[in-house]
């Protein structure tokens, strides 16, 4: 319990330091855009791969389950509903944990144990401004873009598989998608993506900076960060679910 409170206290202090660095964009702006580019390009192949598979599986399962029970265009609606509200943001988040979060935790952990973070402080540069703020803001920027691309990939994969393995036609599938499609779920998916990006990069930075004790310490910190990021992702996902009730009918 004491440890949890300690982590809560330290992470709150880090969050406060991140917020207080925001009024000085000259120190983090260029780094944030460079990091956002790195995060987006780095995670894109895995995001497209995972969400493409997610869309394909959903499409197949829906086709098999509903065959002869509901009209075929429903496959399009179910695929759209599943990928927009759940699969695309969540699978993008999982890809970000693996590609971006683990990298940030290991990078900052290695910097901490090799005294590079101390060195920054000694030469008068705030480690939070130089190391954490660009990474966290980059997560906030890159994740919604990746979610948007993930939505497209999963819908197209779902359509391709549905047409290939179920009796649905392209026209029926896209009718189903359009029947479901509203602005709010799309907006909801992007907001969810931003929240995931923010939490993944913040947790990775916090846990990385807590690393102690050489390469073993970096390994431990990276493992802890991955566990914390995946847990946070699912907790956030659960907390976001009730917001969908706000969807205008």
């Amino acid at each position: 319990m004491r440890r949890i409170l300690e982590h809560l206290g330290r992470s709150s202090l880090l969050a406060a330091a991140v917020v207080s660095a925001l009024p000085h964009p000259q120190h983090w702006l260029a780094g944030a855009f460079e990091e956002a580019r790195r995060q987006a390009y780095g995670a894109l192949p895995l995001v497209l791969f995972l969400t493409g598979l997610g869309g394909a599986v959903t499409s197949q399962q829906t086709g098999y389950q509903f065959e002869g029970v509901l009209p075929y265009w429903v496959i399009g609606s179910v695929v759209a509903a599943s990928v927009i509200t759940e699969l695309a943001p969540l699978l993008t988040g999982i890809a970000l944990v693996g590609v971006v979060g683990a990298r940030i935790a290991a990078e900052l952990g290695a910097m901490e144990v090799t005294e590079q973070v101390d060195a920054l402080e000694v030469i008068g540069r705030d480690p939070v401004t130089y190391l954490v703020v660009p990474r966290v803001l980059a997560g906030l920027l890159a994740a919604p873009v990746l979610v948007a691309l993930a939505l497209a990939a999963s819908l197209f994969a779902g359509w391709g598989v549905a047409v290939l393995v179920t009796p649905v036609t392209s026209a029926e599938f896209w009718f189903g998608v359009r029947y479901y499609m509203r602005d709010f779920p799309l907006f909801f998916a992007l907001i969810k993506g931003a929240a995931f990006g923010l939490s993944i990069t913040f947790i990775a930075s916090y846990v990385g900076l807590q690393a102690r004790g050489g390469s073993r310490g970096v390994g431990r910190a990276t493992t802890r960060a991955v566990v914390a990021m995946v847990s946070a992702l699912l907790v956030l996902d659960t907390l976001f679910a009730p917001l969908l009730k706000l969807v205008p009918s």
């Binding site: 090799t114 590079q116 101390d118 060195a119 402080e121 030469i123």
Partner: protein
């Protein structure tokens, strides 16, 4: 210049410093020696405010480091340079960017030629040329990394330089070069230096005074000559251990 008063520090439940008292006079090179785990690096980190004492206080230029505000600490650090044990260069940056980062933005903004000139000058001080500037730290040797670490510490012409084992792991030629840099920093910058070292030979080469840290306290202070001639049991024990270790290596 640096006054350490009754500093206590416990790390991981183990008392590391138990009431350390030490003064480093203006312009002198004080070598801090002691066995592994004696708390020498921990003490050095208290001087620059990377660690805070559990009890006691460290004064730099008459100002208490532990009670300094963020701005005061930043101002104090601008007067100090710190040479890390393994260089601690930022490995995502080139040598040029590492050195640039240690300079005040205001100075560079005032004079377009200031940055490049100071970078080349500080590299020359540690006997390196500009061929390393666009390399990353992992593309140069360990000895060069350490010397770049020294260049970074002196690039802003500090009054006080703290060295954490500056010659450990270097070949004899690099040891001589780093010792020369320490002497140059004192002669050219008039800097006050506190140097943590295991290198007994460096004591005679560069130190004005020697302090021995053992069992969490300063057990001896004096000139290098007094240190080597001392009958103090802690000094004899330290020198005996060093001689034993050197004989084993030989």
């Amino acid at each position: 210049m640096i006054r350490i008063e009754k500093v206590h520090k416990t790390l991981g439940g183990q008392p590391v410093l138990r009431g350390v008292n030490l003064t480093v006079r203006s312009g002198e090179v004080l070598a801090l020696v002691g066995g592994s785990g004696a708390g020498k690096s921990v003490l050095l980190k208290h001087v620059i405010g990377l660690m805070l004492p559990d009890e006691g206080e460290v004064f730099v230029a008459g100002r208490p480091v532990g009670r300094a505000s963020f701005a005061e600490l930043a101002e104090l650090r601008r007067r100090m340079g710190y040479v890390f044990q393994d260089g601690a260069l930022l490995d995502s940056l080139t040598i040029r960017e590492n050195l640039r980062l240690a300079m005040a933005d205001e100075d560079c903004a005032r004079d377009a030629y200031y940055c490049p000139r100071r970078i080349v000058e500080s590299l020359a001080t540690v006997n390196l040329d500009d061929s390393v500037l666009d390399k990353h730290p992992d593309e140069i040797s360990g000895g060069m990394r350490k010397r770049v670490g020294v260049a970074r510490a002196i690039i802003h012409r500090p009054d006080i330089i703290l060295y954490d084992e500056p010659t450990t792991g270097l070949d004899p030629q690099n040891v001589v070069q780093v010792n020369e840099v320490i002497l140059k920093a004192r002669q050219q910058l008039g800097a006050t230096s506190l140097m943590v070292t295991h290198d007994v030979a460096a004591l005679r080469a560069v130190a004005d005074r020697v302090a021995l840290l053992a069992d969490g306290c300063v057990r001896f202070q004096g000139t290098p000559g007094e240190f080597f001639d001392s009958a103090n049991p802690s000094v004899r024990s330290f020198l005996g251990r060093r001689a034993g270790a050197l004989a084993e290596v030989a």
